[in-house]
C-alpha cells in the first residue's frame, strides 16, 4: 500500500478490522435501522440515527431525516424523491465508497469520481396495469467517469472490485428475505 496516496480512506483501519473480526464473528453482526412516519398523501419522513454493531448500540453523529414523496406527474406534492430513487442513492454512494477504498488500498490516487445511475422502471407493474410487468426496476445502469493516476484497465478493475464488495450491489442483485409485520 502506498502511503503517498491520499483518497481520505483509512484503509489500514479497515484491514485491521477485517483481521479482528475474522476471529470475532459476533462483533461483526450489525443491525441498521430506520424509522418512518406517514405525513400526508404519499409523503413520509424516515429518520435514521441509531444502529447496532461491535456488540453494542451505536449512534451517528447526528440524526438524518429523509423525505419521500412522489412527483407531480404522479399527482403528488413532490416533497422529496420517490422511494425507488433512494435505491439509486444507496447504490451510487456504496459503489463510490468502494472505488475510493479499493483505490486507496491499491495505491491509486483519485482526482475525481463521478457516476450516473439509471434505473429503468416500467410503472405498469406498480399500477397493476399489466400483471406480467414487475414492480421493481427492469435493469439498472451505473456509468462511472474517473480521473485517476491509473491505466484504463486498472480503473476498470477498481470499479469491478468495488461491485464485488458492495453491500448495496449485493442487496439489489441477490434476493433477500424480507419480513413485514404489523406490531
Amino acid at each position: 500500500m502506498s502511503t503517498t496516496v491520499v483518497n481520505g480512506v483509512n484503509v489500514q483501519a479497515l484491514l485491521d478490522a477485517r483481521e479482528v473480526l475474522k476471529g470475532a464473528p459476533e462483533a461483526a453482526q450489525f443491525v441498521w435501522r430506520a424509522s418512518s412516519k406517514w405525513q400526508k398523501g404519499v409523503h413520509s419522513t424516515t429518520t435514521i440515527q441509531n444502529f447496532f454493531g461491535l456488540g453494542e448500540e451505536q449512534t451517528h453523529k447526528s440524526e438524518s431525516v429523509f423525505d419521500a414523496d412522489h412527483p407531480a406527474v404522479f399527482a403528488a406534492e413532490d416533497n422529496g424523491i420517490t422511494p425507488i430513487e433512494y435505491l439509486l442513492v444507496g447504490l451510487a454512494s456504496c459503489l463510490t465508497a468502494g472505488v475510493a477504498s479499493v483505490a486507496q488500498n491499491r495505491g491509486i490516487q483519485l482526482r475525481s469520481v463521478e457516476s450516473t445511475v439509471e434505473g429503468n422502471h416500467d410503472i405498469r407493474g406498480i399500477l397493476g396495469a399489466d400483471s406480467d410487468v414487475r414492480n421493481g426496476f427492469n435493469d439498472v445502469k451505473v456509468t462511472f467517469t474517473i480521473d485517476a493516476d491509473a491505466s484504463k484497465e486498472d480503473i476498470e478493475a477498481l470499479v469491478a472490485q468495488s461491485q464485488k464488495r458492495s453491500a448495496v450491489f449485493d442487496a439489489l442483485t441477490n434476493p433477500t428475505n424480507v419480513t413485514v409485520e404489523v406490531a
Binding site: D139, E153, E156, A157, A160, Q161, Q163, K164, F169, D170, L172, T173, N174, P175
Partner: protein, 378 residues
Amino acid sequence: MLERGEVANSWRRERWPSLRLLTPNWLSRLPGHHYDGPEPDGYMTMAEVTEFIERFAKVSRAPVRTGTEVTRVRRIDDGYQVMTSNGEIRCRALVIASGACNRPTVPELAAAVPESVEQLTPFSYRDPAQLADGGVLVVGASATGVQLAAELRRSGRPVTISVGEQARMPRTYRGRDVLWWMVASGIWDQRYDEVDDLDRARRLPSPQLVGTPERTTLDLNVLTAMGVEPVGRLAAIRDGTALFSGGLRNVFALADLKLARLLTTFDEWADDEADAPERFAPTQVPASARLQLDLRRGEIRTIIWATGFRPDYGWLDVPVLDPKGRLRHDGGVVDSPGMYALGLPVLRRRKSTFIHGIEDDARDVTNHLAHHLDGMVE
C-alpha cells in the same frame, strides 16, 4: 502408505469416464517419472493417468498397503495411534495425503430443490445417457462445470449454466499451452509465503480449461456459441424457483480483467520465440440473463452441482481443524507435533494441488519431518 482402495484410487473411482486431465502430458510428471509417449501436448484419459500412477508406484517401490482404510487417528504420548480396517498402527510422524477432493461440495440450498428434479454431483455423474431427457442446470463454471455443460449440450439437451467466480483461460496462448506459461513464467512456482492473500489464493476456483485432442478453449463465449445459456450465481431457491444473481456482468468483467492481467504477465516474461501477443474478446453478456427459473415446471429435469470439492477428515480425531473444517497448517506442517499434510491448495506453492506440484512440496515437508524425528531421537 495406507490406501483404502487401490493405487490411483481417486482417478479410478471419483472421476467421470470422459474426463481427461487439463494438464498436458509433458507437465503431468512425478519425481523421476514422466510421460514418454508420442503426444507430449495431449491430455491423459482416466485410464492413462491411472496407469501412469500405477507405474510410478511400481518403479518407486512405494510401500503401499491397499485396501486399508484409516478410520481414526488419535494423539498418543509421542505420536499417533492409527486405527485402520486392517488393525492398529502406532507412529511417531504422520503425513495426511488423503486428498483435497474427497467429497463434492454441495451448497445448503440444494435441500430446497423440488423432488421432481434429480440432483447429481461430479462423483455421481457418469454420462449424458444417465440423465432424464430435458433441461439441465449446471451450477458452477470452473473446470468441472464448463466441461459437463459442454458434454450435456452436445447430447442435445438444453443447458443453463449458473456462473459465479471463474478463472477464464484460453487453452493455448501465443502458440503454447496456457499452462506452459503458468510454469515458465514462474506463477505456479510462487510460494505460499509470497502470495498476497493466502486465504484467497487457497480458495481460487480451478482454471476454466478442458483437455481435448483438439486443444480447444472452453470459456463462456464458447459455451454460449454452443447454445448453453449463462445465468448469474445461484443465490436462493424460493418456493421451488431458483433465483440467480443480477451481477453476471461484473462476474464476467472480473474474469476478463484478470485474464488480461495474466496475459500481460506472460507478455512481460515472453521470449522472442513465442508467437505475437493475443487478446481475447470480452465475455459476451446475454442481453437479459434470466433471474429466475421455476424448477417445478419440468423445464429443468436435472441439476448438476459443479460447486467444488472438499477434503473429508471424519477420521481425524486430533483438534487441528479450523471452524470451517479446514486443516490448520503452515506449509504442510500441521498444528500438532509430527503431523504433516500434502496435496492441499497452495500448500507451499501455487502448483501444490497439481500432479506435478507435489514433488517440491513433498521434499520440503519430508525434510521437516526428518528433522522432527531426529529431534525426538536426540
